[in-house]
């Protein structure tokens, strides 16, 4: 809650400060002072060190108003969803919010404070507005369910796919012999051995298959000649006979 009292100006995180700025609270002029737009809160102090401090979550909106029919001077308009005046009233509001479990629609409607900051230098209105926007963004609503969506590193879809070794589309994937072997399931491995064994039967003369084939126990496997009954093998014999 906010009350006019003796505070010191912020010492750190001050984005902008503007001297010679009149504060008008609910149409009541408080005199000239210095406005501080700091990252932690928005505050204003008059010449004698009295001032007030606003928490960003309590600010509903802020604006640059140049509409002289609404207020006779160009100013920075700030709508606060709380009452500034009374400490007693501030305590009452605290009690009210304890009673309610749901959102604060009801208590907000009746309790707003309009604050106008009128700098003597009107060219400062836009920079003041902008730095307030930046500071406001530093205080997202803690009740908002979506601000919890972000947890840890941002999920990069492409990165994740690459890690799994599945490059989609563009590039065909080739395995070296060792890599290929490691990709086989045990079933696949058995199939590979069987097929390799079958190939071994049809080797050309002189090409030796160094590995003994357990699958061919029923046959005579002579490493010097071609095993099996293929036509190719017969032709080879004829050739070597020549």
């Amino acid at each position: 809650m906010v009350v006019l009292k003796s505070l010191h100006p912020p010492s750190e995180g001050v984005r902008l400060q503007q001297a010679d700025t009149t504060a008008v609270v609910d149409r009541k002029r408080l005199g000239s002072g210095t406005l501080f737009v700091a990252e932690a809160h928005l505050s204003w102090f008059d010449g004698s060190g009295m001032g007030f401090c606003l928490e960003y979550p309590s600010i509903s909106l802020h604006a640059v108003s140049r509409d002289l029919s609404a207020f006779p001077e160009e100013h920075l308009y700030v709508m606060v969803n709380a009452k500034l005046d009374d400490e007693a009233e501030a305590e009452q509001l605290d009690k009210a919010s304890d009673d309610e479990e749901s959102d604060s629609d009801d208590e907000d409607l009746g309790t707003i404070t309009e604050i106008r900051f009128v700098p003597s230098d009107k060219t400062r209105l836009e920079p003041l507005f902008s730095s307030m926007c930046d500071c406001q963004a530093l205080h997202p609503d803690p009740d908002d369910v979506h601000t919890d969506d972000y947890e840890g590193e941002e999920y990069d879809v492409e990165e994740a796919e690459q890690e799994q070794g599945q490059v989609q589309g563009d590039v065909p994937v080739f395995y070296s012999y060792e890599e290929g072997l490691s990709q086989l399931t045990s079933e696949g491995q058995a199939t590979l051995e069987r097929l390799e064994g079958m190939l071994a039967q049809y080797h050309m003369a002189g090409v030796r298959n160094d590995q003994p084939s357990a699958q061919f126990e029923g046959m005579e496997v002579d490493s010097n000649t071609v095993a099996g009954q293929s036509d190719d093998a017969d032709e080879q014999r004829f050739c070597t006979a020549d």
């Binding site: 979550p57 600010i59 509903s60 909106l61 802020h62 604006a63 640059v64 108003s65 140049r66 509409d67 029919s69 609404a70 308009y77 969803n81 629609d105 907000d108 409607l109 707003i112 209105l125 836009e126 507005f129 307030m132 926007c133 406001q136 963004a137 997202p140 609503d141 009740d143 908002d144 979506h146 601000t147 969506d149 972000y150 590193e153 941002e154 999920y155 990069d156 879809v157 492409e158 990165e159 589309g169 563009d170």
Partner: protein, 120 residues
Amino acid sequence: MDVSHSIRERTIAENSLVILLQGLHGQVTTVDLRDESTARGRVINVDAFMNIRLEKVLYRDRRGHVSSMDDLFITGRNVRYVHIPDHMNIIETIETQLAKIHRVRNFGASGGRKEYSKKK
């Protein structure tokens, strides 16, 4: 029209309909606030927390008084409705915004590979 520089904000936007509101940059529209006031102006920026910045605004307060404001920033918490202009294609807008986020994300991750990207 820029995608937020914050990873956190991009992630939040990607996972909620705020991304639709971010597609409203440059459009003139009306925002209804929770206290039943309304603000009509051009959308300058909507961040992941649904904070909305408008310019050249006609602001009607809850009592009905109208005033004009050059620049208005509404805290996300206080937004009740944002009117989507009739001429806008909602699905297209969402897809365009998502594509922008993905482009920003890929720029850092893939370096030279960007040249071969099929996206556009």
